[in-house]
């Protein structure tokens, strides 16, 4: 059975990794791994190298990101992706296409599969995060045949959206991104040498903060101002700070500009290998920003998080998260409080670390029944 998974961004790979490894290990599965969009671009982290290091063969690569980082180029690049994936799926003839989560370009994955009449499985549907991502995620849900969701609440939302009578198509698997957290603290801590990067010097053996800030999609023009507020609030605490560059989105340039302007006092890092990144988070006193990592992985890892602004609005939270707005003093206070609290207990609301295997097994069942449905149709046509 041919199962095609499209990886469109660095964080997507981290989330899909345990699923991909499980599928690759299955003898009767032909994994078709399509790497596209920012997952191919060096400046968003060498996902390709990670994939190759993980021993996964890349079946196809689609370069579709248009330079410019405007709303228009994001939409146009999605159009290019749709054009190419339609041809790619015709060549690969998968029995099942897997689309992941909610990035704007993933809708093109879903369209290409749906319009090509290939069964479509969607991972991480039914969640709520309070941004344009919600719209895209729900639109993908409407196009998908099968939904492998992280939580019961997500399952309920998918059922409601699809008018409740398709219980068979929704499976609660937990989130495979949590799988990456398993055993991460057994590894040696990240050192300053390993970290690399630019800006102020860092000593990771002492206490420090981690910062991971994305633009708030709906207000990209304000992204610079918002980043400045966060940076001032963090700077006021006096702790050393490791900041990561934002991903490939409208508004990212505003955040990047604010980071560049702060390189005198903070340390900037382009990226780490995913598990090393999680290891680093377990070392920091507190993660500040608006990444879903703070809500999902950090709840399992027990890392204190200050989540800023509305990007993760509506997402289910564990006890480790404190929410604040883009207000310098609030950010300062929240970070101080979280540092004082220290590590939290594990919370398994997003998964128990075994989701990858569970997702892979579900996909095989789904792909097989889709294949049988197709075979039945073909036989019926002959009769």
């Amino acid at each position: 059975m041919k199962i095609c998974v499209c990886v469109t961004a660095r964080p997507s790979y981290s989330r899909l990794r345990s699923v991909l490894l499980a599928l690759h290990a299955m003898p009767d599965v032909d994994l078709q791994l399509v790497v596209c969009a920012s997952a191919l671009l060096e400046r968003y982290g060498s996902v390709v190298q990670q994939i190759e290091a993980d021993g996964l063969p890349i079946t196809e690569r689609v370069w579709n990101v248009l330079e410019g980082e405007t709303l228009e180029t994001a939409a146009r690049g999605t159009g290019v992706l749709l054009m190419d994936l339609a041809s790619c799926f015709r060549r690969l003839r998968p029995d099942l296409v897997v689309a992941n989560a909610d990035r704007y370009e993933v809708l093109a994955v879903a369209q290409a599969a749906r319009y090509s009449e290939i069964p479509l499985a969607h991972l991480q549907g039914g969640e709520v995060t309070g941004s344009i991502d919600d719209r895209v995620r729900d639109a993908i849900t409407q196009l998908a045949d099968v939904h492998l969701v992280s939580t019961a609440r997500a399952a309920q939302r998918v059922l409601t959206m699809r008018y409740a009578n398709l219980g068979r198509g929704v499976v609660i698997t937990g989130c495979p991104s949590i799988d990456l957290c398993v055993g991460v603290e057994d590894e040696p801590p990240v050192t300053a040498d390993e970290l690399g990067g630019a800006g102020a010097r860092m000593d990771l053996s002492g206490p420090f903060l981690a910062l991971l800030l994305h633009p708030t999609t709906d207000t990209h023009a304000q992204s610079h101002a918002e980043a400045i507020a966060v940076l001032r609030g963090v700077q006021a605490t006096g702790w050393p700070v490791v900041a990561f560059w934002p991903g490939n989105e409208a508004g990212a340039d505003g955040v990047s500009k604010a980071l560049r302007e702060s390189q005198g006092w903070l340390h900037t890092v382009r990226n780490l290998a995913p598990r090393r990144f999680l290891r680093l988070l377990t070392q920091c006193q507190c993660l500040v920003g608006n990444s879903s990592v703070g809500i999902r992985e950090c709840s399992y890892l027990g890392v204190p998080v200050v989540n800023v602004g509305g990007r993760q609005r509506g997402r289910e939270r564990g006890p480790n998260v404190v929410d604040v707005g883009f207000v310098e003093s609030d950010i300062y206070n929240a970070v101080t409080r979280q540092v004082a609290h220290g590590r939290y207990a594990r919370w398994e609301g997003y998964g128990d670390g075994q989701a990858g295997q569970r997702v892979a097994e579900t996909l095989v069942v789904v792909g097989r029944s889709a294949g049988q449905a197709r075979a039945t149709t073909e036989r019926a046509r002959v009769l």
Copy 2:
């Protein structure tokens, strides 16, 4: 206020016509009419000429249909449309984009607007027709800000899909396609000369059947066999038949082939002006096929309809429709029964013929509040 409406196919224009005329007549509305996809192609009927005859200025044209009529080219052409509309919307800077119904390429309209952060109104959401169109229509609903729906049942479905708490964003306007039916019987009947076309001779002054058959999207390979079943059932009745060529879809070639093979005994027509088409329907004894015209417009006009197969599955029906499968004898029996019954009384379940004005007024209110929200944001940024 700039309101941008995208017309992507001949039937779309018929449905949007009263809305467009109402918007064009409003002094404070700058109507931006974007004609794209098969609406630009001569072989699907000269929509452009109709638009110009209606006195509506065309703001932009986007040629995006890829030849081949395969699933792949349909998906690829949608990608091209998304690429171009993203640029088009940047140039036109509309305050509101209007997407209509459920054709696969309309999802590109919705994406281009949503990704460009332009408020999006969707017409005819919330309906159920039992094909891939349902998926696309519901995906567009997820991307839209405001929903102008035809029926109360459609409104309820949209609210459910969008989790019930956005009552303000759903307005029941009735379907503007019904507006075109108003007074159609006051016009002179269509004559054989006006009809034109090819194949067997037609005398429209006597009784005849009309046939309008589209491929069933999910089984396009079977479209030829299905068309043959319908044609044999119809031929058996012995009535003269006027058949219309199918639209631009995967599988259309199968239907067209069956029609070509039957040109010895039936009369084929490429298209008529929309109101003349409706006038012709009021002249026929029965409409056979699977067009939504049979369900919607014919319920208002009281034309007997034999609806074949699942293409309109789930759509609300008036009393004028008899449903059958692709079975020659069933089709024969149903047509005979409908011809015997004769005309039905008007049914206003899809609208009272005034929807266009109602939709236009709603769009203006929506566009204005969207504009105000934007102005407020801009003021806030300055402060």
Copy 3:
């Protein structure tokens, strides 16, 4: 060695056929056959079926033709082709790409190869035909590394264009399209049944004319008027006429319209298998129109030709061709004269029927030396 040949239209395949068969028969050549543009479209003749019947495996298919048949869609479709071929060449990694002749979309083949730094061989460069094709052909010549030309005059023109100092890169092979003519008269004649088609009845056992008219690219708006002139001149002779539909070009709709209007007295045919088409030409009294077949293949076959208008201007001619303008009476006179003359003797100015093998052998030598150059570079880099 991997040699990639792109077929973009039905006539291109006819011309490349003997080359492709020769390459496919070579044990050390991996022929990569990419079928794209109108070569994939049923309404321009089922090239794909011919290719499969010839036992050639198709490596890749690219659907890029945009519907509309306007100048804009021709250009846009070429852009789509360039996008796709760039990815295609990256996947296929050919040692050599072969571009053929002068159709507007072939420039995209040349660009994709050149920009991808893959050696590019161009067939049929250096000719002169008096239309936009000249510009495109010469632009391709500028991008190509090696030129396999039909005649000595073509070789001289290529050398001049490329400033004379690259004699090694130009090889006179003759035109492979002539290969298809070899032995064609040994086959049974085409009958009316085999011919099929529509319009007036045909009896191919008696004398008849053949008509093959393309739009004159630079004056596409006039194509209908020009076709009418030709049709009237031909009709005046009183001979039965077999007309072929024009290919996929701006202006083709004007010619097609004129043909449709004449179906009362002429017989129209969509296409024949290439060799059957040539066989038919040997049966007719005279070929009328502006196809290059009249200049090239018919000179070898000795078929009398009346060549109308400037489309073939500048092309070398054998004794079998009479040139006239789009003037009804001139066309009438020329046809009458040619019918009276009867068959001509063979003229081998475009080739002796063995070009395919010669081209294939040259491509292998070229590909090998290109591969060696690359290997040398790679070794040099290591040192």
Copy 4:
């Protein structure tokens, strides 16, 4: 008369600036300025801001650069540009399109105009530079109707390529890029503050070297190694160095990497306004690298230049240029010699500084005669 000029890169604007200003000042010319490709991207210098500061209105913007900086993305992005320009030209209906020089994406400009049957003027054709640019430039020459060239040698080459009988279509105007040099030394010198940038501190009041290195297109994989050789040769001289980042090309990342690795001892600058850049060159002791600025503008300005490698091979040179290979010691020696020599006398081989006005006037004449030809055709059609 509507004259459409496409600017595709920062250096293109510098070269076209005097032409654009002259066209904009002409009362009967409607200048349509289309900004596309890397000219829109901030990281290649804010061309848009320069254009706006020059008071030129931008008619259209086309984002087409695909991220990745591979050979494939360069080709694909050219395909996107062709798609969009075809539509752009249909909307703008220019009487004349102007394509400039030889960048790979400019071929799309030429194709879009040629395929749309719009007269095409080409600037800076007929030159020789010894890279893939030669192929692209010559291909554009084949597509163009009129050629406005810089030198008599270039005119001769264009005539030869186009078979000598079209003398009327070739006009020697001189190169408009030289116009930008006029009076540049009357402006105040560039200071370290104005320069900005990163890396080692610079004092521009003392002697220093300027470095502007692009990847050698045909050997992009070696670009890093080549850049290292140049940097070592320059570093050995002991002079302070101001280095500019390379433009948007395959291989640019290799050069950028080498520059980043050298930021300990050299100063890097993203860009300067064009005339300030030229002013800076008049301040330096010697320009090192492989930019055409060294060959063209510096010959007029009399700046000593060490030109490295084959990128400018074949380009006509003034006395100010010394050529060397990518050999550290040769570069060291050449720079030392040029610094010892000091400034050269003005050389006007590329123009006298008045080309912009001359080009603009020629374009108007060309556009007018093209318009008349078209009007004549239209009248002829009516008759």
